[in-house]
Structure formats: structure tokens, C-alpha cells
Symmetry: D3
Subunit: 316 residues, 6 copies
């Protein structure tokens, strides 16, 4: 009958390696009263074009998140004091059926969004973001997208399917879920099918920064650019773990050599401080390809921690 | 312009660890003239209910098969002398769309079956067997199924889908692809949703042997039973690698503790000598869960080798 | 405000790979009203003499247990219908301090035992069993021990410590927690410090069966022997995963070559049907030494499933 | 009877995870008519001084190369349009006999070089480069060597053998296969047997840049330096994967801590644009030491992709 | 009867992959006559708060150290010529009992310190440093601490224990083993329990540099700062491998995302040249979480090599 | 100046996970006075036909052997009381040159054999056994070979080389090192190049038992057969780890599916009690293909322990 504010297990009583694995050891709660943030999993990987496995992403990120403590010194905020965070569990999905899963995710998210609770998703492949955006756009209208990713995911179709992890943001634009002129994709790299691949997103109106351009720009100016582009619009941040170099994130489905270190990625995310964050996800963590130290899952959990910190820094 | 008989690379010239990875180092040929056996891959895993990964099964089995030499002492047959074997490559599939994949596999198999070439599939999840049976039943009529598997795969549906790796043989019966009274399922074990689960297949008319019953029966009497049941009907053998205990086949999607050793499995297969084998597959090898020694892939390659040996033992 | 009977997540709605990881996907509940069985973890590994890691055992066993379905065909019982099972979470422990941990475990178990709820522990190293026995003996008096293990764990001390994973049952006897003449240790094997090592336990009055003797005896006669020895006394079954051969349980701390297969182990456990089971644990699962397929954790989860089935088979 | 231009499998028909594993999914062809580039493997590792395993390097690099798409945005070139690329398979080798293998490689390369086809080798340990240089020098005379490597490989002998992976370039100089004043070694780091070790190559006339010096110089000035040194001479680029830090390339035989990231390495290679590239190899990938995500093999495949792009950028 | 100077195995006679594994292949000697440096292991991990495993750290670091050659080009010193180095083996420890282990380590170190031999420890978790400091302070008085680590390890207690791997330097200060104003902690990062966590060490008088501050400062100015702070006081350098990013050191117990590369770490260590080094350790290497290429152990061995080089650079 | 009898480290003082890794924690001694058994490594793998890696076999077997205690209950003998055992280290080898290595091994073994010390080798690939037999036959004349292996290793040559891991016993016969009529090969299985492969060894006069025949015979009758065949001749036992099924020994170079369990293997070895054992080896352990639990190395160490026990059981 607890109604928040919710607190994680006390690490001085239950050691961090102990306890049922929830995100940051938050209570697993599905009643939204008294909740500020609902972290939830979308364990879906039917829409992957190369390696599968992200259906186990939420489990792995939760496990790694046990290492996270409440206070974020980089942003000078205590997450647990600032926000009542729960682990909402996993939403229902239908392995093998992307569109049915979209409907399930939208239905599951509706009460969270309606309740004004901040939704933070643990993926799952990148196809799932479309369902999240549908749920959020119903309340907020078109959102500004801030995407950190090595791929633009703006293809038309794959293997006869319009809904796939490489078509997410094209569909989102067609469905008026995004404001392209307020949206920034960054981190694109790797071989392409042709020179137009980068151009497509630019033609939509997105600001697109390749890995080389983003590296040149640096975290501080990236933050400024994003704040300028997104202004006071509601923002959705989507972080694809393949933004990182495969050495830092081996556990992913379509790795691209030559990416960012985790230290660089955290700096980019922290410099987004000040955007009006209304939703976020971390996607494409594929545990069967991670290493024994679970570095990919730890990087993903830490990125989510920084995203929640951005939310915690916003004025109430 | 070669038209068989095809021979593998000579291990005295190109060491077994060298060369493009094809099954048993056979030539990769798609012209069927002069071919007796076409080994081919179906790299599909959209229809899996737990761990994914079998889309990389054909690659792993091919890699392990480099260890196989031409002469099978257990069945006293030289595979390479007896049969002109080629690696036909992988047939087209559509990740994320099971029914579209079925149509692609059926289309790809049609010319092989029509040419009288023996088709041997490397899976892929167990859903793919339905497409294989469709292609073969067009020529042979309903087949006798000999299934070695820890699961019966006779469910009605999963997550709203009628085509899934747990529904394959129910669909096959409904489509008149199998002769249930001539069919034998063996190796069922593990926890179930209810006591009727085993009964379903028996009600279809299948002979069903649990792991305990099969162990009690032993390889020799199992062979006799199958030969008696299948008689002179055309037979399809479907070997799901989870027939093996997880210690012998860690690389699979729905492992069940308490299974057979590889030595036992090979004995069961060899004792099928004499059945009228018209098609076969080895399925559910999931390489991301295999170990560094690739024991699952090696077991799968060896089972396929024994199945081809059964074919080679048949009178021409 | 639910008060049982508790049911696991429905695998037709939330796929088995989804959801917060609890044992068999049972609800995580700490109110004991309406509960028949409390599965709980003791994530402790300070008392290990070789490889560490069992503090992550409960997490790994929970993860693997998602594969278990309600109906056990070997014992013809539906666990979920027969028993209201919850995951009680992990009890508090103090890494680095064995005796403090004992006190914590005893305190945490007291309300479970008092409530008449069946306690089933996921270890943790074998030292933890002492605390479990203390809690149970308070209610039941001395218990009959049924231990499946490659080591007797009846040493006097290690490195100056009387409480260690190799001294558990000596301490238990000294504290009058066990009835030695009703107790059976089975599976002992591997090199020893001297010929007396096996003799110690026999001198206590235990029945001791080496691996060779147990293999010779077979599952059925083992069950008869145990039922005869334990009679109508309350029984505690302690299953150390190193009872299995390292090929079947690589993820453990003091592996001994030449052990049992999982199939054999399950047969031994199932043949205990009829004993008056009042508590049990599965210990010494060390996930960092397990393989990618998590075969050790799956074997452990399945053994626990069979132990709960034994309980479910008892007349109410 | 196809005679090029050869194209890879279409990723919209055969998904990238499917198909027989050849480099970049190019056709496996051994008739050189219509071929611009022959990628081939030299699966040899007898001449390694620490960890072995590179005999499986070609297989692993081919497998990872399935992720590569035709268009290289960094160099603005479509590899598949610009060049008719085939996978020539593996050349014969003799495990256990370095000098016999050299003869086999030279014999196998002769027709490729004579046909004016660009040879690109997948190693194999670094000993194999000597055979490649012999074959190329027969046509081109002494080549300019551009070596990216943590070791100079200019020793006199190892364990009584003059042909070993640490003696390659000393032998090449003695055989007049290289023009030392046009050659640049870069990336040397790690502990040495003595201060003269770096000096040896300098005394030969090589330009030698340690890791610290190269890092200081940066990609752009490195490219200028190499273009200045090599001028219009024919160039051979040899990329030893241990140029990368072990975090980026764990799968190699003599790792040296403190190396480059993959992003840095790709920048160094791309800045070689304009050199007259006549041959290249990527060596010392040892798959048994790679991780589950195969980051080493992916880095190696991407480096080879960039090297082929350099060739594609040359005026026809 | 040898009495030094001791030399490692000759790599031209016994290949580096051969021989009993000692640090840098030095002789295993426990007689201190003629010895300059005693490298020894403290295989202890009872005092870890998250993942265990460092009890196998000394074994793993020794194994990786076989790759190290005598001459350090970065510091222009031949370690083997400059110093008579032995592997002193592992000191006795008591798994499960931190304080007893401290007494054992102090007793074991006393003769080394008394003999004026430089002690270099391979950990083991960070708790062990307290015992080392006790032994050294007996001779030298309070030492200047130079700590490279992502955690400050200045907590008061954990789970009721005052001696734990997170309390080491608080205890050391209380015991007057350190001179705080001469001590520098660097590399702190990651989430905290509260804003005071960093402040505690500053309040002690330590100079504390976070990862961001240290990165900003750079290796050269870091070296200057440390030399200024430590002056001519005796210095102890304690390198916790979690100073590195988890991509570079997956094999550790409490990884923090966003750390340094190995190249950066080596630069920081080398720039300490000139400090009056009297003891050092490399701790928290946890082999079960390392990868197949053992990159963590190799990084640790290389850091130790650089530390010994610092000692070798000191005037005799 | 110790001269035996040598004893291992005391596990009550130095825990078994601690200490420099020698076989069974025996002292590393190269003076043979007072020594009964010299365990030594031959870290050589140039002569392997498929996977490499056995050069690290001795290191891995030593590491696993730390788990072995002095008393063998199966044979009722205390190894440490019965024999003065030392670890002699690794003998010099020349990677890349098999014949030079043979000469080095022969030279290194000569003083051991001359001193009447029992030599027990840790391989290394199976080629090394020829050098061992040469050294032993110089003293004992032709030996009776007892080989447990899945391959006969009686080929004429491989890739132009007469000395290879598949030719060892043909060479040994040609050099009169073996008495074929007293020799027994057992465990042969797997695919062959032709039906004559098994026949070759029989034609030499060897008794050859396939895996099926040996399984049928059982341990006890196998022991009787070997004792009958070998009589009072000096015996060399060569145990190739691929005798085991790949599930029990994944870490080997040419695995064959369908082999023995470790429990079966130990029973076969123990039943050899009474043979006049004069030398032995355990070969083909390839650590890079082993799993995290090191089950292959542990099986190998345990087999060696049983072989030494056979020696200890002989009358002095």
C-alpha cells in the first residue's frame, strides 16, 4: 500500500550484489501513485537485421545497474532524493510479431504517460522506439528526437517489412511523431549502401552529425547545439549502444568499428543538461555477445543513469 | 562446368582448417546436375520462444564440419565415394516474418526436390521444418516423421501466432504432410504446461517416447521400432539439438536438463539404418550460447554426417 | 493485498524471457500469508576454500528458472496448482563475516519457519546450510540430513576458522541440529587429505555412499535406503551442485572430476519421493565459472524444481 | 562462366547473416578473368612466438566482413562499383613447415600478380608477408613498405629459425624485396630485449615511428609523411592487428598494452589515400583469444575494407 | 646457493610461453640475499563488496607477465640489468578472515622490508594495502600515498566491518601510516552515496583528483604535481586496476564506466619518474571476469613493470 | 640444498588457490637427488593438424592440479607419502621446428631417465611422445604402449612432414621403441579417411579397441586385457585428452563427438593397476578452447594424478 516516494534497497543492509534484480534496486511497482519515473523493459528482438539477443537486454541492464549509487557527482544531483523511481517490470511483447508488439507496448505505456510519470525504457532492439514515440506523442505532440547511434535507422523497409529496427525514424516522421527540425542524430559511421544514406535524414530536416563531425564538435558544443535545436520542445533521447566502439560495447547486434569510448559518450549525455526531457530509452544491448565482465550492460545502465539525472536536474 | 560427382577439398593439400567454410568442405554449387545430396542452410530464428541465435547455426555447423572425414566406420560407408555432395548455400529468408520465409524456403527447395536430389537442412529454429515438409510432401505425399527432440512441438499457437517453433508438427498434420501412424517422436522431457502436453501428439497417432522410455528402450530396439513403424514409407528425420543434455549442447534455445549424451544420440541415429530416408534436418543450434570448443556445432555436424550416412547406406 | 495462492507470470502473456527475474517467475512477496513455499536466496561466498562466486548464485538460478513450466511429468504433479510459491528475495548477509551472516540468516528465517512455510534456499556456498538447519531445528528438533555432494563437509576447521563451507555438518552435529543415524551423505569422490576423511562422517553415524557406491546402488535403491533411514523424521535435503561432474556443472568452486550427469542426479532426487521434506537448499553455484549456456544454473534450477515437486507430492 | 565484374550477394535478398562466408560476401572465384581484387587467406600460424591461433584468422575475418556495406563514406567511394572483388579462397599451406609454406604461397600468388589482379591477404601470422613480398617484388621490384604494427619484426632468428614472424622484414631486406628508404614502420611500443631493437630498423634505412611518436604526429601528418617517403613507388601495406590496444584487439598472439583505438587506426589508414598501393595484408588475428562479439575480427575486416578503399580511390 | 643478481629465464632458450609461471619469469626465491626487488602475491578477496575473484589475481598477472621483456624504452632502462628481481611467491592468507590475513601479511613482509628489499605486491583486493603500509611504515614512518583508482576507499565501515576493501585508507590514516598532505588520490569517478564522499579524503588532507580533473591535467602535469607533493618522502604507489575503463579492465570487482585507457594509465605512471618509491601494489584484478585475451591481467602486469621501472630509474 | 623426500605446499598454511603454480603444488626442483617422480611440461604445439594451443597445456594442467589432495581413495594410496614428487619445470622446445624440439626433449630427459626418476609429461601435442619414448627406450628397450585416445596416430606423413602429431606411433615402431604385440590402443572413434585406418595399427601387431568395443568391454576387463598383453614389460601410458567426449574436454585440438565421460576414463585408468609403469604423459590439452571452469585441464590433471597413483601402487 506504499505510495512513494520509492527508495531502492539500502546497500548497507542488503549488499549491492544481493536482491531481486530491478533497475538500480528500485522497488518493482506497477501502481503509479507516488511515482516520478517508471523504468521498464521491452524485451523484444524480432526486428534485428544481424545478430539477435536484445530480448535479454533488460535483464542484463538491470543486473549491471546494481552497481549504481544514488549521487551523481558529475551533475551534482542525488537521483534517489530527487525522484521517486520504480522498476515497472517488462511490458508484454510478442516475439515474432513486430506490429502486435507495438500495439502491446502502446497499450502498456498509455497509463504511464497519462499519469505524468517519466517513462524510461530498457531495450530491446531499436524498432521499439516507434511504439514509445506513439505513446508520448499522444500527450505531447511531435517530439524533438535526440539520437545517439551509429546508424540513422531511416530506411524504407527490410525484407518486405516496413517495421524493422532500421526503419524506426522514417515511420515516426510519417506518423508525425517527431519534429524533424528540432531533432539531432549524432554518431553515424560505418559503411553504407550508398552516399544517399546520410542524406535521407538530412532531407527530412534532421540535423545529422557523423562520428567524425561529433568528435570534432566535442561534448560542450554538442550540448549547446542540441539545446538550441530543441528549445523548449519536449525531447525524447534514444541511445543506441552501438554509438560506442565495439571494444566498449561488444554486446550489440550491428557493431561498427571506430566508435566512441564510454567516457566520451557519458560526456555527450551529461552536456545535454537543460533539455526538456520527456522520455528516453537505451537500446540494442545484446547480452549473448557481451563479455564476462558485462561491460556493455554496465555502459548501458550508466547511460540510463545519466539520462535520469538529466531529468532530475530539470526544475520540478 | 563441372557436373559431379563432387568431391570435397583434399585434406592432404588444403588442411582441414583452411578454405571457405562449406559443409564437409564440399564445393558450393547451385547447379543440381550430377548432385546426389544438397546440404543447405536455413538461417532463420524469428520463431523462437526463449533464446535466439539459430540464424548463425548454419555457419557454425559448416565450420565444425571441417573436422569430418569421408569414411564412417560405424556404418562402414565412405560418404564421399557413395554420394555426390554439394553445399547449396543458404536459402533466402526474411528475418521477422515466418510465413514469408516459409514461402521462400518452399520456392527454393522445389527444384532440389524435383531433381531427385536429397535435401539436408542446417537450421535455423524448428519452425523451418514445416517448409521443408511442404516441399517434400508435394513429391512424396505424407511422410513418416522421425523426430529426436526434447519437445514435441505440437502446440496450437504462441503469442497469437500459429506458425512458431513449437507448433511445427501440429501444422504439418493439419496440412497432411505427415503420416502420424508411421511417425515416431522420441526424447521428450522436461517440465510441461500440463499433463496433456504429451498426450496431444499421441492423440494425433504419433508414437511418443519420453527420454526415460527411450533410454530404457535402447538404440537397437529403437531402430527396430522405427523401421517397423515407417515401413517402406518415405521418411523425414528431424533432429533438434536439444535432444542432447545441455552439457553436450549448451548452444541451443530452450535447453532441458537431463538429456542424452552425444554418444547415445549417435547410437540412436545409426540404428535407424534401413529407413527410407528422403529428407532431414538438424535444427536449433544457437552459436552465441555455444562454448569456445563449439561442442554443440560439432555434435550437430556429426549428427548430420550420420544422417547422410544413412542415406548412403540405402540401395541406389 | 494479495494473499495467495500465488501464481507465476503467465507465459502466454509475458514470454518466459521477459519480466523481473524471480524463481520460476513467482511473485516477489515478503508477506507470508497464503504462502506454502518461500524460495529465497543466500548470496554468500566468504566461506569458500577455492574459487569464489556463489554470491551471484541466486541471481543465476533465478534467471535459469524462467525455463521451468508448472507440470512435472516425472512425478506427475503440477507445482503451481499444488503449492502457493513465492520468491521471498534474498536474506541479508555480511560479505566477509560468516558468523554475522549466520545470525542474519537465522533471524530472517525465523518467521518463515514459524509460519509453517516451506523454506527453499538458493546458495551461496555450503556454509549457509548451518544457519538454515539452526532455524529449522528450533521448530522440528534434529533433522535427518540427505546430502548429495562430492564432499562430506565435516572438517574441524580451515585457516583458523571453525565456520567454513567444509565444516558445516560437523558444526551441525555438535549443535544437535541433525540426527546422524537418520542421515545419508552420497556422492563423495575425489582426492582426500587422508583415508580417515570419509571415516569421520561414518563415525558420526552418518550413512556415507561414495560416488562409486551410489552409482552401483542406482536411483531406485537409493530412494529406498533414504526412506528407510529417514523414516518419518523431518528431512532436510542439501544438494551441492558439485555432485555433478564438472562437464555438467562447470560453475562451481571446488569441482571434482568423475561425477554424475544431470540426468542421473535428477533420477536420484526424484526417487526420494515420500520423504518428509521440511527444508532444502541447492548450493555452490558459481556463475563466473559457468558457461555461456548457463548449464550449471539450469541444472541447479531444475534440481530445486524437483525438490519442490517432492514437497508437492506429500499429503497435505 | 561469369567473368565479372563480380558483385557480392544482395543484402536485400540474402540477409547479411546468411550465405557461405566469403570476404564481404563476394563470390568465391578462382578464375581471374574480370577480377580486379582477389582477397585470399593464408591460414598459417606455425611461426608464432607466443599465442597461436591465426590459422583461423581468415575464417573469422570473413565472418565479420559480412557486416560491411559497399559504400565507404569516409573516402567517398563505392567499393563494389569501383572494383570487381572476389574471394579467392585460402592458398595451400603446410602447418609445421614455414619454408614449404612460403613456396606454396609464392606459387599460388604468381598467377594473381601476373594477371595484374590486386592481392589482399587475410593472415595468418606475420611470417606470411615475406612470401607475399617475394611474389610482388618479382613483378614490381623492391616495394615501399608501410607497416602498422607494435613490433618491427626485424630480428635475425628465433629458436634457431631464420624464418619466423619476428624476422620477416629483415629477410625481406636481405632478399631485396623492399626499398628501405621509402618504407615507414609505425606503432612500435612495448618492452624490448634492448635499446638497439628499434635502432636495427632505422639502421636499415626505415623510417620508424613509435606509438608515442605516431600519436603525436596524428593521422594527417602521418599520411603526408608516408606519401612523401613512398612517392610513386609501388607500396605494400602490412597491418598487424596488434597495432591496436588489446582492448580493441584481444584476439592476437603477442599483445602489447597501451596501443591505439580502432578509430585512431582507421584514421591512420584513411590518411594513406594517394599512395600507389599494389598489395596489402591484415595479419595476426587469433580467433580463440577474441571475445564473443568478435571485435578483433571486425576491426581487421574494417581495416581491410579501408585498404581496398585506398586502392579503389586510385586513378584506374 | 645462488645469491643474485637474479635473472629471468632466457627467452631464446625457454620460449616465453614456457616455464613455471613467475613474475616476468624471474626465479622463485625466498632467500633475500642478493635481491633488490621481491615481487609477491597476496591472493586475498574476502573483503570485496561486489564481485569476488582477486584471489586468483597473482596467478593471472604472473601468467601475463611472461610477455614482458627486460628493456623499457619509454623510461630507457633495462629492468633486469638494473635490478635483481625475484618472485617471492604468495604470502600466507586466511580466506574468510581479513584481520588474521593482515597479521600474516605483516609477518611475511617484515623480513623483506628489514632486508631493504623493494616489495611489490600483486593483489588481491584493495584491503591488503593496509597490511603492506603497516609493514613499510614500521621502517619508513608515514608514507606518501600515490593512489590511482576510481574509488577513494576511505569509508568508515561496511556490513559491520571496519576492515574492508573500501576502508583501507581511512584505517591507514588512523594508524598514522600515511602523510596525507603528501598524498595524492587520482581517478575518482562513478556514482556515489552522497556529495561528501569525495570530500572525506580532502578533509583528511589528501589531494584528490577526479577522472575529469586528471584527464584535464594530463600526464606531465600530474607527474609534476605528485613530485611536488611527495617531495623526498618515501612513496607508496597503489594502482587499482579499476582506474581503467571496464573495456580495458573487464576483470575487476567494482567496475566504473568512463575510465582511462591503458595507454593513458601507462603515461600517468611513467610521469611519476623521480618519486622516492619504496613500495607498490597493483590490486583488484579478478580473473574470472577477464576475457579470453586476458587484457586486464596484461594491463596489470604492464603497470607493475612500469612501477618497477620507476624504481630502477632511481639513483642507487 | 634439500634432497627430498619432497612434499607439496601445506594446504592448511598456503591455501590451495595460492602459490606459484606447479603440479600438485610440488616444489620446482631440477636437482634429481631424492626425487622419485619428475612431472615436467613439454609446451609444444607446432605439430597439430587442426586447432593449436597445447603449448599452454602444461600451464593449465598445473593450475588445475592445485585442487588435488594427497590421498587417492579409489586406489587407497597416499601419493605424497609414497613418492617424492617434484615439478621439474618445462623442457626447452623450439616452436616451429618439430625435429629440433625432439632433440631438445631427448637431451633434457636423458638425466631423468638415467637417474631412475619416473618421468611424467604434461603436453603439448601428441608429437612429443616420440621424444619421450626415445629417451625411455634407451634405458628400457622397446616399451609396451598403452594408449587411450580417439585417434591411432599411425599415419605416414602430413603436409610433407614425417614427424607430426598423427604419425607418432608409426615412427616409434620404425625406430623399435615399442613392442607392438604388448601394446594396446583403445578409444578410437570418429570419421576416417578410409577403412584401412584402423587396420594399419592392427597390422603392426597392436591390439586396437574402438570406443564401441572398449565401452562394451568395460574397465575391469580392459585392465585384465592390458595386464595380460603387457605382462612384465616396461609400460608407457599415453593419454590423449580427446579420448573424452568434447563435453568433458572441449579444450583440445581435434575433438571427436561421442566419446567417454571423465568418470569412465578414470575407471579405465584405475583398472590398469599392476602394470609396470615406467613413463606416461597426458597430451593435447588446448587451453584457449577450454571453458571458464577449465574442465579439460581439471580432467587432465586428475588423469595424471591417477597415473602417478598407479606408479605409487607398484612395489618399490
Amino acid at each position: 500500500m506504499s505510495q512513494g516516494p520509492y527508495k531502492p534497497l539500502d546497500a548497507q543492509v542488503i549488499p549491492r550484489f544481493a536482491g531481486i534484480r530491478t533497475f538500480m534496486r528500485a522497488p518493482h511497482v506497477t501502481d503509479l501513485t507516488g511515482v516520478d519515473v517508471a523504468v521498464y523493459g521491452i524485451p523484444f528482438d524480432t526486428a534485428t537485421s544481424y545478430r539477435t539477443g536484445p530480448r535479454f537486454g533488460p535483464e542484463a541492464i538491470r543486473s549491471a545497474s546494481a552497481l549504481l549509487r544514488p549521487y551523481n557527482p558529475a551533475l551534482a544531483v542525488n537521483l534517489v532524493d530527487a525522484l521517486s523511481i520504480v522498476d515497472y517490470g517488462d511490458v508484454p511483447v510478442s516475439p515474432g510479431d513486430t506490429e502486435r508488439t507495438y500495439a502491446q507496448v502502446e497499450e502498456a505505456l498509455a497509463p504511464i504517460v497519462e499519469a505524468g510519470v517519466f517513462p524510461a525504457a530498457l531495450g530491446g532492439d531499436h524498432a521499439i522506439t516507434l511504439a514509445e514515440l506513439r505513446a508520448l506523442a499522444k500527450k505531447h505532440g511531435p517530439l524533438a528526437l535526440v539520437q545517439l547511434d551509429s546508424h540513422g535507422d531511416v530506411w524504407e523497409s527490410y525484407f518486405g517489412q516496413r517495421y524493422f529496427h532500421g526503419t524506426t525514424f522514417k515511420r515516426a516522421l510519417e506518423e508525425d511523431l517527431l519534429d524533424p527540425t528540432a531533432s539531432v542524430q549524432a554518431g553515424m559511421r560505418g559503411s553504407l549502401y550508398g552516399p544517399d544514406d546520410i542524406q535521407i535524414a538530412k532531407d527530412f530536416g534532421f540535423t545529422v552529425l557523423t562520428t567524425d563531425e561529433l568528435r570534432e564538435l566535442g561534448p560542450q558544443r554538442y550540448g549547446e547545439l542540441v539545446r538550441e535545436k530543441t528549445g523548449d520542445r519536449p525531447v525524447f533521447v534514444s541511445f543506441d549502444i552501438d554509438f560506442l566502439d565495439p571494444a566498449f560495447a561488444p554486446g550489440t547486434g550491428t557493431p561498427e568499428a571506430g566508435g566512441f569510448s564510454t567516457a566520451e559518450a557519458l560526456a555527450f549525455v551529461r552536456n545535454l543538461k537543460g533539455i526538456r526531457l520527456e522520455g528516453c530509452d537505451v537500446v540494442e544491448v545484446s547480452p549473448p555477445y557481451d563479455n564476462a565482465g558485462a561491460v556493455t550492460a554496465l555502459a548501458a545502465a550508466t547511460v540510463m543513469y545519466e539520462l535520469l539525472s538529466l531529468r532530475a536536474c530539470l526544475p520540478a
